[in-house]
């Protein structure tokens, strides 16, 4: 299972002022963006700025990743040649539509790793699925070099345009895509990461959308405004009620083992293997979160 990332904070790759703020943003992953937030004429400037940032600017306690330009552009190979030697935790590949897209990118990353003396596999990849074709191929993509994948991410805005949908707060237009992506990621054993919530001043709908996202199985999501971070992060952590229940389940299991009992009940409900598995996952995610806070 790939590492759980709750908040992937996107920072425009050509903005020194925003880059300077990266260390104080309470995200587990900072993603410097070379794609949509960078104007065409600024691509080279952003590439050099992100490269020098990775080499000379510390972002303690957080993983650092880079979203490169997609493989249909003239920029992605130059992006990789500049960025991979700096050893980011992973590369985000926008508009991934097929396993072959991913293979092309991983092939070049591997060549650069070998040339630079970096252990092969150091730089992971997170495909972003944001087209109708990508959604239909989500499982094939997730099963392509799975050991290299940091997560499988959804990008809703391009997807909605691609399927001629209409954006709404309720997000019914991306329900199928969300469920298909979560299922593909879980089946492949990697972490699903949800799309950004772009109404940056609407906390009420941010909370609703995060609740929905988490209930569908996403581990976390992309964030595009620092003011969304605290709220969104709290929504992807288990609630006190969930933690208490998970502890009670594990205690009940230990107690049953001591007494030599097989089947057990808790609060009048049968506790079976899937419930124990979920309880362990809840407690594990809390431990990971606490470890991250200590690292910071």
């Amino acid at each position: 299972m790939s590492k759980i990332r709750r908040i992937l904070m996107f920072i425009p790759g050509n903005s020194p002022a925003m880059i300077n703020n990266a260390p104080i943003i309470d995200a587990d992953t900072i993603v410097f963006d070379l794609e949509d937030s960078v104007a065409l004429e600024d691509k080279a400037d952003a590439r050099f700025l992100v490269k020098e940032t990775l080499l000379h600017f510390e972002v303690p306690g957080k993983d650092v990743a880079v979203r490169i330009n997609g493989i249909s552009t003239d920029f992605w190979m130059e992006d990789l040649r500049a960025i991979v030697p700096c050893r980011p935790a992973f590369i985000q590949l926008p508009k991934t539509e097929r396993g072959e897209d991913l293979l092309k990118v991983i092939d070049l990353i591997e060549k650069i790793e070998k040339k630079e003396g970096i252990p092969v596999g150091t730089v992971q990849v997170c495909p972003i699925i944001e087209t109708a074709l990508g959604i239909e191929n989500a499982f094939q993509i997730a099963m392509t070099k799975t050991e290299r994948l940091a997560a499988l991410a959804l990008g809703a805005e391009d997807l909605i345009a691609d399927i001629s949908g209409i954006r709404s707060n309720e997000s019914l237009e991306i329900m199928y895509a969300r469920q298909r992506l979560v299922n593909a990621a879980r089946a492949a054993g990697i972490s699903p990461s949800d799309t950004a919530f772009i109404n940056v001043d609407d906390d009420e709908w941010l909370v609703k959308d995060c609740k929905l996202s988490r209930s569908l199985g996403f581990d976390g999501r992309a964030i595009i405004s620092p003011r969304q971070v605290k709220l969104a992060r709290s929504m992807y952590l288990p609630s006190k009620k969930e933690i208490d229940y998970a502890k009670a389940v594990i205690d009940a299991i230990h107690d049953a083992k001591r007494r030599g009992r097989g089947a057990i009940t808790l609060n009048g409900k049968m506790v079976d293997e899937p419930i124990v598995k979920r309880a362990r996952a809840v407690l594990q995610s809390i431990e990971e979160s606490e470890r991250m806070v200590q690292d910071e």
């Binding site: 020194p16 002022a17 080279a44 400037d45 700025l49 490269k51 020098e52 940032t53 000379h56």
Partner: protein
């Protein structure tokens, strides 16, 4: 004949605009609100970056708005790359 200029950076806070022009020698001109405090450090970053890249034929104009070392370096490297490709503004 007009000398081509190669530019990188913005006027935003924390950024710097680097403008390069081809010359027969190296010269560096710095304009910064914090010149009295950091002028020498800015100059050193520019000199070191030019030396590392074996550049001996540019006029460098630095219009600084409080950029950190790595930003100045990135903008200078981007301008040098544009000069190498002949991508002028």
């Amino acid at each position: 004949m007009q000398v081509k200029a190669f530019v990188s950076g913005t006027l935003e806070s924390g950024d710097v605009i680097i403008t390069l022009k081809t010359s027969d020698h190296v010269s560096v001109t710095i304009q910064s609100a914090v010149q009295s405090l950091y002028g020498d450090l800015i100059r050193k970053t520019v000199d070191d970056t030019l030396a590392e890249n074996k550049v001996r034929n540019v006029e460098v104009f630095v219009n600084d708005n409080g950029a950190r070392d790595f930003v100045i370096r990135a903008r200078l490297l981007a301008a040098l790359e544009k000069k190498r490709r002949g991508d002028s503004e």
